[in-house]
């Protein structure tokens, strides 16, 4: 079927009901930073959360050619890490779901290190990725909180890896503060990542740190059985029915949670940047 859509929508392939189409030319639209849970004092948050950096609006300006702009205008959402190996930046958007059905999350993104050296710099970004933070509805028997994570491991301390990965395991869930009301666990650490089957993929890095080529991402996930379906990046589609997301017992105040998040991690003493031109979340019509 041919759909008569404007170009900014026509590059996506949404399911029947579009829930959210975030084009960052219109502002941040609910995307914000991720802060660790705390009680009474910010000192109580898990230390891994203390230096996560918040997202901003960028016009992709670089020192040698000036402003790139985004794919359909001037602005994209930018995640920028601190300039040190392992530093992370996260952007999150928080919704709740109303019908347990298949969801499709599509994105147009690109990643680069800060262009502070006149070098190829193609190993300076360690990884970028997407995650969902979900919880079953309050009437479900044996409910779970489910956290599908997928990242592109661009490089590690040994060099380029160019490998899609997922995470099935999680660290200890800690009580935060002394009242027993707040819990936290850090799920973006370097531990627990597994290679997606046949998940090696070479992307268009394009030679120097100031050239931005946009990529298409698509994640299909089913809220009925809380299982992956498919993941796509550009020309490659990965069957994901057999991989497990992080799954932990439901938490007391997260019913029907539907959170989307992007993240990027540095592999060097340069800032790592992930730019998001636009994001679209759609579902089957029940």
């Amino acid at each position: 079927m041919t759909r008569n859509l404007p170009p900014a929508l026509d590059l996506f392939d949404p399911l029947d009901r579009i829930l959210v189409h975030d084009d960052f030319n219109r502002g941040m639209q609910g995307w914000t930073g991720l802060v660790g849970n705390y009680e009474d004092s910010l000192d109580s948050m898990l230390p891994e959360y203390a230096d996560l950096r918040d997202p901003m609006l960028s016009n992709l300006t670089v020192w040698d050619t000036g402003t790139d702009g985004s794919l359909h205008g001037n602005y994209a959402m930018k995640l920028a890490t601190l300039p040190r190996p392992g530093a992370l930046a996260v952007a999150i958007k928080r919704l709740t779901w109303r019908v347990a059905t298949r969801i499709r999350w599509e994105s147009i993104v690109t990643f680069k290190p800060e262009a502070s050296e006149l070098e190829l710099s193609n190993t300076d970004v360690r990884a970028f990725g997407i995650l969902l933070d979900l919880q079953d509805g309050d009437r479900k028997a044996h409910p779970h909180r489910v956290m599908p994570h997928i990242r592109y491991l661009n490089a590690d301390e040994f060099g380029r890896m160019e490998q899609w990965q997922y995470k099935s395991t999680h660290r200890t869930v800690h009580d935060i503060g002394g009242r027993g009301e707040t819990k936290s666990h850090f799920h973006l650490g370097p531990d627990g990542w597994n290679d997606l089957p046949n998940g090696g993929q070479r992307l268009c890095y394009n030679e120097i740190a100031t050239k931005h080529n946009w990529y298409y991402l698509r994640l299909d996930f089913d809220l009925r059985d809380m299982q992956f379906r498919e993941f796509q990046c550009n020309n490659r589609t990965y069957e994901c029915r057999d991989i497990e997301p992080i799954r932990i017992p439901a938490m007391p105040n997260l019913w029907c949670m539907l959170n989307l998040a992007y993240f990027v991690e540095s592999n060097s003493t340069k800032r790592a940047f992930l730019y998001v031109d636009s994001s679209l979340l759609s579902t089957d019509r029940e």
């Binding site: 502002g27 941040m28 930073g33 802060v35 910010l42 000192d43 203390a50 950096r53 918040d54 901003m56 609006l57 960028s58 016009n59 300006t61 670089v62 020192w63 402003t67 001037n74 602005y75 930018k78 920028a80 601190l82 800060e114 262009a115 502070s116 800032r271």
Partner: protein, 123 residues
Amino acid sequence: MRQSHTAVVARNAAWDGPFATEPWEAAWATEAIYFVRLLPPGPLRVSMQYSVEISPDGIHWAELSQGTFEFDEQNSLWYRQLNHFGGWLRLSGRVSYSPEMRRSASRRYIREPRFMAYLTLKS
């Protein structure tokens, strides 16, 4: 309707001596305010010499304006209003407090100063 955005550029930051916030892209905005708040509990009198810096590329920086924030019991929140700053902003400077307070902090009688810094932008 005008666009607006408040960015938290430092959260519970243990600034002591030189500091600089991370570069923030602000090309869409025409006015900005840096707010800096000293979080309780902590030393009661802290001095912050600051520079607001601008940049063409987020890498190379030049001073737009400078000043001093003097934090005390009555004044835990300070601000600096800005306009005509181009595409990038950051706040840098130096935090200092008295030798007596430094001794008290090193003996853990009081906590070293912690700061929140905000960049409030409007189109």
